[in-house]
């Protein structure tokens, strides 16, 4: 009874169950994200997310008449396109997993999404990048500003968690869930969702060929990489907020390990690319250290309030969380506004210099130092997981 057809059918069913029934482990998500981020680096420039929000916000200000210059079209702007890829990839993944639902939240959550999104947009402008461009990519491409942002994010997460605990003690009456219960829809969508997911992914891949037909292969590729990141992030629930928050909250160190493993893979790949001049060594290194520290702090508080960083806000919004949709809009509006403010106040020279680690220390020292810092992060988080020394709640 094992014809080729029935066997293939069984294989596909097993692959579907493995991919979309259970969540992927965080470390697997981390490794896959590193590989995709390296492909983005070789294909174009190092990966970032905040610039995409900035493009969307620029359009809002242009329409309001607050900005003169017409921004790039969102389907042409490279960072906007990869963000759209993440959003639609995550939406397809949520549909394939039958997890998509429009999720309403209590009002106080919307307020936190709004404030959190604004803080993240402002922080990303100061740091010249968000948790991705300013921290993940920056550390991985040996820009010292990335470590400054890492410290800022840690302190910001600590402060943000204190706020959440205070809110839970003092404003508990505002966050009761009962009234905002999500009503189950009358129609059973669970059978249709995976079909919609397949169509959406297929449409994304078709869009690549469409871009290519218009001689925009590079941009089409970024859409494709974005789709992959969206699926991986959603399935592994890959979340930078967790990596910075959990050590203070539950002690869980799994996401710290996942981010560190991801960074080590990405960093080694980036070293190969840079050291071997496949891309210029200082490509993407533009993170001012003071701005990164201060921006990281604001961003860290913001991501705790919003419950998502630049990347996980995209995939959570795509899963249907209305709070994160608000955070997404707030981020997009506050980021270009802060950029304008920095330009208008002449703050830029005070944000500190960019620094390229191998230019100061040589590759021979920079590489082991990079690994050592990440290992230390994992070891401290792992020790805290056992001893709960850093837990504030």
């Amino acid at each position: 009874m094992h014809s080729f057809f029935t066997n293939t059918q069984d294989e596909l069913r097993a692959a579907y169950a493995l991919s979309f029934d259970r969540n992927w482990p965080g470390w697997l998500g981390g490794i896959l994200i590193a590989v995709i981020a390296l492909m983005i680096f070789i294909w174009n420039v190092p990966w970032g997310v905040a610039g995409g929000y900035q493009n969307w916000g620029d359009w809002a200000y242009y329409w309001m008449g607050a900005a003169e210059a017409r921004p790039e079209m969102p389907w042409i702007n490279t960072l906007s396109v990869s963000n759209l890829g993440i959003f639609f990839g995550a939406l397809a993944s949520a549909l394939l997993s039958r997890q998509f639902a429009f999720r309403r939240a209590p009002r106080i959550e919307y307020a936190k999404g709004l404030v959190g999104g604004c803080l993240m947009g402002a922080g990303a402008a100061l740091a010249a990048g968000c948790n991705v461009g300013g921290f993940y990519t920056a550390v991985g491409i040996f820009s010292i500003g990335g470590y400054a942002m890492m410290i800022g994010l840690g302190v910001g997460a600590f402060i943000g968690l204190h706020y959440l605990l205070w809110e839970m003690e003092h404003l508990a009456h505002l966050s009761g869930g009962g009234k905002t219960e999500n009503k189950p829809s009358k129609r059973d969508w669970s059978q249709i969702q995976p079909v919609m997911g397949v169509f959406l992914l297929g449409g994304g891949i078709a869009a690549f060929y469409f871009y290519s037909a218009f001689d925009l292969t590079k941009i089409g590729g970024l859409l494709f990489f974005g789709l992959l990141i969206g699926v991986v992030m959603h399935r592994s629930r890959f979340c930078f907020v967790r990596a910075f928050r959990e050590p203070f909250m539950t002690g869980d160190a799994d996401m710290v390990r996942a981010v560190a493993v991801s960074l080590i893979v990405f960093g080694f790949g980036a070293a190969v690319i840079k050291w071997n001049w496949i891309q210029p060594p200082e490509m993407g290194v533009f993170h001012p250290w003071i701005g990164s520290l201060a921006g990281g702090l604001l961003f860290g508080i913001g991501m705790l309030l919003a419950g998502g960083c630049a990347s996980s806000t995209l995939w959570r919004a795509a899963e249907g969380h209305s709070k994160l949709m608000i955070a997404m809009v707030a981020f997009a509006l506050s980021n270009p506004a802060t950029h304008m403010l920095i330009a208008a106040t002449g703050l830029k020279p005070y944000l500190g210099a960019k620094m390229f680690m191998p230019a100061i220390l040589t590759w021979h020292v920079a590489l082991p130092l990079f690994v050592a810092i990440l290992l230390l992060w994992v070891l401290v988080a792992g020790w805290n997981e056992k001893t709960e020394k850093l837990i504030i709640f």
Partner: protein, 81 residues
Amino acid sequence: METKTVTADKIVDARGLSCPMPMLKTKKALKGLKDGQVLEVWGTDPGSANDIPDFVKKHGSELLSMQADAGGYTRYIIEKR
């Protein structure tokens, strides 16, 4: 997981809340219970389906059951240990 009929000593309604609020409320509620008492958490965030069982395990308590309610949310029944 077997379904036991247990009456919860405390119910946490985290419906509509997204990560990390369901976890924070669960942790806080567990703190206020004595060993052997039962906590019931209602949630709608898909992330909780992993987070709550993982956390309960780490905490040393026991997840008695986790089931989809007809009202469109998930009920986590936890015995504090």
